[in-house]
C-alpha cells in the first residue's frame, strides 16, 4: 500500500495565504460591484463583482478573451464601466486623484516601454512619471533593477533584451515608485517556467511587504500562487475564492484516489457508507476516486471500510485535481460550454 502525499511548492504558497479572519480585517482596496462593460453593442463583461483587500495577491484567471484585461483597464481608469460601480483605493478610477495614481503601479500585458532606451533609462523614465528625479534616486533605480535581476543588463537597450527580461523590465518600471497597489496583466505569458516561478516569488515577496497585487493570467494552474482567485469565463466571474476552496467547490469536496487489487460486488456501496464520503467514481479498472468532505479525515475511514470487506488496497491518497480540471468543472457547473482548445493554457510551473 502506498499513501501519496502531494507536498509540493503549492502547499508552501498556500501557507502564505492569510486566513479568512485576517482577510476580512484588511482594508478593501478594490471594490467592483455589478460591473457591466459593453464595446458598442457587444458585452465584454457581465455582472462582475469582486473585492480585493490590502496585502493579498488576487489572481484573475481565465482563457484569453475572457475579460481579464478589460477588467484591469476598468480598474486602472482606462475604461469606464457601462453599468455598475468600481472603486479603487476608494476612488473612481477614471477620476483618480494624484495621490491615488502615486499609489498605483501598472504592468501592462505587452511590452510598451521604449526599445531604443537602455534598461536604466526606461526605469528612470518610469520613475520620472511619478515625480522621482533619476539623479537623486539612483539607489532606488539600482535596487529595483536588483530586485528583478536586471542589474547586469542595465546598459543594454530594451530591444536587445529577451522576452523574459523585457517582462522583468516592465515589472521594474511598475515597481520603481514603490506602489501599494500593483496591477499586473499577464506577467507570465510566453515566459519559461523558471522565470515564471521567479516572478511569482517576486509577487509573493511584495505581498509579504504589504503590497496588494491584482494579477491576471491565462495559465490556470498559476492560481496556486494566489491568495484568492477569480475565475473568468466569457466576460463573467464564474467563481471566486481561495484556490483550495475553489477546488473544493468544483468537486463538491476533497478527492481521494484508491487503487485496489480487485473490487468486489458492492464495494462502491461499502465506501458510500463511510462518513464524509459524498461520491465514488471508478475512474479506471481497480482505481476509485472518492469525493469526501476533508481528505485527511476521511482516508482512515475509507481504508478501514475496504479492509473490512477483504479488499487489498495498493495505494490511497488525496488526489489534487489540476486547476484546469477545476476550471472546466466550474464552467460545466455554470452550464456553459468549455473553452476551445488553445484558449486554456497550462503552465509547467504550477502544481497539480
Amino acid at each position: 500500500m502506498h499513501v501519496r502525499a502531494n507536498n509540493t511548492a503549492n502547499d508552501q504558497q498556500r501557507a502564505h495565504a492569510p486566513d479568512v479572519a485576517a482577510e476580512a480585517d484588511a482594508a478593501l482596496v478594490i471594490d467592483a460591484q455589478d460591473v457591466h462593460k459593453h464595446f458598442g453593442a457587444s458585452p465584454v463583461l457581465s455582472n462582475l463583482s469582486l473585492q480585493v483587500r490590502a496585502g493579498e495577491i488576487f489572481g484573475l484567471i481565465g482563457p484569453s478573451g475572457s475579460g481579464k484585461t478589460t477588467t484591469i483597464h476598468l480598474l486602472c481608469g482606462h475604461l469606464r464601466p457601462t453599468q455598475g460601480t468600481v472603486l479603487v483605493l476608494g476612488e473612481e478610477p477614471s477620476t483618480f486623484s494624484k495621490a491615488a495614481r502615486q499609489a498605483i503601479g501598472y504592468m501592462p500585458q505587452s511590452f510598451i516601454l521604449f526599445p531604443d532606451l537602455t534598461v536604466t533609462q526606461n526605469v528612470a523614465f518610469a520613475a520620472g512619471l511619478y515625480g522621482i528625479n533619476e539623479w537623486r534616486n539612483r539607489d532606488r533605480i539600482a535596487a529595483v533593477l536588483d530586485l528583478v535581476e536586471l542589474t547586469p543588463a542595465r546598459k543594454r537597450t530594451a530591444r536587445a533584451l529577451s522576452g523574459g527580461m523585457q517582462r522583468r523590465l516592465a515589472l521594474a518600471a511598475a515597481l520603481v515608485h514603490d506602489p501599494t497597489l500593483l496591477f499586473v496583466d499577464e506577467p507570465t505569458a510566453n515566459l519559461d517556467p523558471i522565470l515564471r516561478a521567479k516572478l511569482w516569488t517576486h509577487f509573493r515577496s511584495l505581498a509579504t511587504r504589504g503590497r496588494t497585487l491584482l494579477v491576471t493570467t491565462q495559465y490556470i494552474d498559476e492560481a496556486e500562487y494566489c491568495d484568492r482567485v477569480g475565475l473568468m469565463y466569457n466576460g463573467a466571474l464564474i467563481a471566486e475564492g481561495q484556490p483550495e476552496a475553489l477546488r473544493h467547490q468544483a468537486f463538491g469536496g476533497d478527492q481521494v484516489d484508491i487503487i485496489v487489487d480487485r473490487l468486489p460486488q458492492g464495494g462502491i456501496d461499502v465506501l458510500l457508507q463511510v462518513a464524509e464520503v459524498r461520491a465514488v467514481e471508478e475512474v479506471q479498472t481497480h482505481r476509485l476516486r472518492v469525493t469526501v468532505d476533508r481528505a485527511e479525515r476521511a482516508i482512515t475511514g475509507l481504508l478501514d471500510a475496504l479492509q473490512a470487506t477483504g479488499v487489498a488496497v495498493q495505494s490511497i491518497g488525496q488526489f489534487r485535481p489540476t486547476f484546469d480540471q477545476v476550471f472546466i468543472r466550474l464552467i460545466a457547473q455554470q452550464g456553459a460550454a468549455p473553452p476551445p482548445v488553445g484558449r486554456l493554457q497550462t503552465s509547467d510551473v504550477g502544481g497539480g
Partner: protein, 497 residues
C-alpha cells in the same frame, strides 16, 4: 517648480530616444537637403533658346534675311536645321523633336519696300503651361532685334537724305530773301522770278521728303503749307506786274514773304535738330535704366538657403512630432501615462521641450553650415532671427503633434508628414513666390509655419530687415493655438472610454 520632474522625465526620454535613432534624424535632414542641393546645383533658371527648324523659300538656300541677320537668329534660337521642306519641318515639330518651326517669307525686303510688313510664321508645339510662352518670347525678341537693325539702318539713310533736304531748304530761304529784297525795291518782275524759283525749289523738296517715306510726312506737310503761301505771293506779284502801275504802299505785307520765310526757317531748324540726333536715339528715344539696391546680389543657392532652412525645420519637426505620439498611443504607452500622476499638460510640455530643443539644435547646425560653410550672410538682427527660429520650431512641432494625435496608425502619420512636406514645397513660397499664388492655395500657404519661416529668414538674413512683426505674431498665436489643440486631442485620446 511643481511637476518639473515629470516634465523633465518626458523631455529626457524623448531626447534619449532621438539620440538613439540618429539614422532617422539624418534621413529626415539629409534626404530633403541633398535633393534640394542637387536641384539647386543642377537646374538652370535661364531657359535655353528653343531648338528650331527654319523653312526657307524654295530655291533660296540662304535667303538674305537669314544671311543679313544671322547673329540675331543665332542669339534667339538654336537652329537645328534649315530646309525648304515645310512638311518635313512640321512633322519634326509634331514629333516634339524640335521646339519651333520658322517659315520665312519669300521676299521680305521687297514686301517692306512696298509698304507692307513682312511676316515670319512661327509654329510651336508646347503643352507645358509654364514653358508655353517661351517660343513666342524668343521669336518676338528675334523680330524686335531684326526690326531694330532695320530701323537703325533706315534712320541713318533718312538722316543723310534729310541733310540734303536741309541744303535745299537753305537755298530756298536764300531765294526768298532775294524775292523779298526785290519786292522791297518794287522790282516786281524780279520778285516774281525769285518766288517762282522758290516754288520750284520747294517742289523738289517735297519730292525729296516723299522719298523718305511716311516718317517724313509732317515735314512734307509743312513744306506744302509754305508752297501754298508762295503761290499766293506769285498771284499778287503777277497782278502787280500786269498793272504796271504804282502798287500799293505796303505791297510787301500782302506778299507775306516774311511769314513764309519764318515757316521754312522753323522747318530747317527742325530738320537740323533731327539730323544732329544719333540714329540710336531716333529709333529708341526713351531708355530705361534699372539699378539693384539690394545689399546682396545672391546666387541661386544663397537666395534659397534660408528658405531651405525653413523647409527643413518644418519637415524635421513635423515628421518627428507626427511619429512621437502615435507610436506611443498605438503601443499602449498612453495607458502608463493615464495611470501615472503625470498630467497631460506635463506630458505635452515635456515632449514640446524635447522636440523644440532638438529642432532648434538642427536649426543651429544648419545656420552654422549656411553662414560659415556657404557664406550666406545675416544682415539683420540675430535676436530676431533666433525668435523666428523658435517660433517656426514651436509651430512645426505643434503641427506634428496634432497630426500624430489625429493619425490612426504610424503609416498614416508618415503620410501626413509627407503631405506636409509636399505642401511646403508647393505653397510655402519656396518653389513659387507667394505673389504667384491665388486663393485657395494662398490660404494653405499661410497655414504652414514654413511659409512664415521662408519670408522671415530671407528678410532678416538677406535683406537686413527686422522681419514682419505680424508674421511673428501669427506664428506665436499659431504655436499657442496648436498647443491648445494638442492638449484637447490628447485629452480625447487618453479619456476613459
Amino acid at each position: 517648480m511643481p511637476g518639473a520632474a515629470h516634465i523633465l522625465a518626458v523631455t529626457l526620454k524623448e531626447l534619449r530616444e532621438l539620440l538613439h535613432r540618429p539614422m532617422l534624424v539624418l534621413t529626415l535632414l539629409l534626404g530633403p537637403l541633398s535633393i534640394m542641393l542637387l536641384f539647386g546645383l543642377g537646374s538652370n533658371t535661364t531657359p535655353a533658346p528653343p531648338r528650331a527648324i527654319v523653312v526657307v523659300p524654295a530655291g533660296q538656300a540662304e535667303p538674305r534675311l537669314l544671311r543679313d541677320y544671322a547673329g540675331s537668329f543665332e542669339e534667339a534660337l538654336t537652329i537645328a536645321e534649315i530646309t525648304s521642306d515645310e512638311g518635313h519641318a512640321r512633322a519634326q515639330l509634331r514629333g516634339n523633336r524640335v521646339d519651333a518651326v520658322l517659315i520665312l517669307p519669300p521676299s521680305p525686303f521687297e514686301t517692306i519696300a512696298g509698304g507692307a510688313p513682312a511676316t515670319i510664321t512661327v509654329l510651336y508645339n508646347e503643352i507645358d503651361p509654364l514653358w508655353r510662352g517661351l517660343v513666342p518670347r524668343f521669336v518676338q525678341g528675334l523680330a524686335g532685334e531684326i526690326n531694330r537693325t532695320i530701323f537703325l539702318q533706315n534712320a541713318s539713310e533718312q538722316r543723310e537724305a534729310l541733310a540734303g533736304a536741309a541744303d535745299n531748304l537753305a537755298a530756298l530761304l536764300r531765294v526768298l530773301d532775294e524775292a523779298q529784297a526785290a519786292a522791297e525795291a518794287e522790282d516786281w518782275k524780279e520778285a516774281r522770278e525769285q518766288v517762282q524759283l522758290a516754288l520750284a525749289a520747294s517742289g523738289q523738296l517735297v519730292v525729296l521728303l516723299d522719298e523718305l517715306g511716311p516718317q517724313a510726312t509732317p515735314l512734307r506737310e509743312q513744306v506744302e503749307r509754305s508752297r501754298v503761301r508762295l503761290r499766293e505771293a506769285d498771284v499778287v506779284l503777277e497782278a502787280a506786274e500786269r498793272a504796271i502801275a504804282t502798287p500799293e504802299a505796303d505791297a510787301t505785307s500782302e506778299l507775306n514773304l516774311a511769314g513764309t520765310r519764318r515757316n521754312l526757317q522753323s522747318l530747317l531748324d527742325a530738320i537740323g535738330a533731327y539730323t544732329t540726333l544719333p540714329p540710336e536715339v531716333l529709333i529708341a528715344p526713351l531708355n530705361v535704366e534699372t539699378q539693384l539696391i539690394a545689399r546682396l546680389e545672391p546666387d541661386f543657392i544663397t537666395f534659397f538657403a534660408p528658405a531651405i532652412m525653413a523647409l527643413l525645420l518644418q519637415h524635421v519637426a513635423v515628421s518627428l512630432g507626427a511619429l512621437a505620439l502615435v507610436r506611443e498611443r498605438l503601443a499602449g504607452t498612453f495607458d502608463l501615462y493615464v495611470v501615472a500622476p503625470t498630467s497631460n499638460v506635463q506630458l505635452l510640455l515635456g515632449k514640446y521641450l524635447a522636440y523644440v530643443s532638438f529642432t532648434l539644435a538642427i536649426g543651429g547646425v544648419l545656420l552654422l553650415v549656411l553662414v560659415a560653410g556657404m557664406d550666406v550672410p545675416i544682415f539683420g538682427s540675430g535676436w530676431r532671427l533666433a525668435l523666428a527660429l523658435v517660433l517656426v520650431a514651436l509651430t512645426s512641432v505643434g503641427l506634428g503633434f496634432a497630426l500624430s494625435l489625429l493619425a490612426t496608425s504610424e503609416r498614416q502619420a508618415v503620410q501626413f508628414s509627407m503631405l506636409a512636406l509636399l505642401a511646403i514645397v508647393f505653397f510655402s513660397g519656396f518653389a513659387l513666390p507667394l505673389n504667384a499664388l491665388r486663393q485657395p492655395a494662398l490660404s494653405v500657404s499661410y497655414v504652414l509655419p514654413a511659409t512664415y519661416g521662408v519670408v522671415l529668414f530671407q528678410d532678416v538674413m538677406l535683406r537686413g530687415l527686422p522681419g514682419s512683426n505680424l508674421f511673428l505674431f501669427v506664428l506665436a498665436a499659431g504655436a499657442l493655438g496648436l498647443f491648445g489643440a494638442c492638449l484637447l486631442l490628447l485629452h480625447w485620446r487618453t479619456r476613459a472610454a
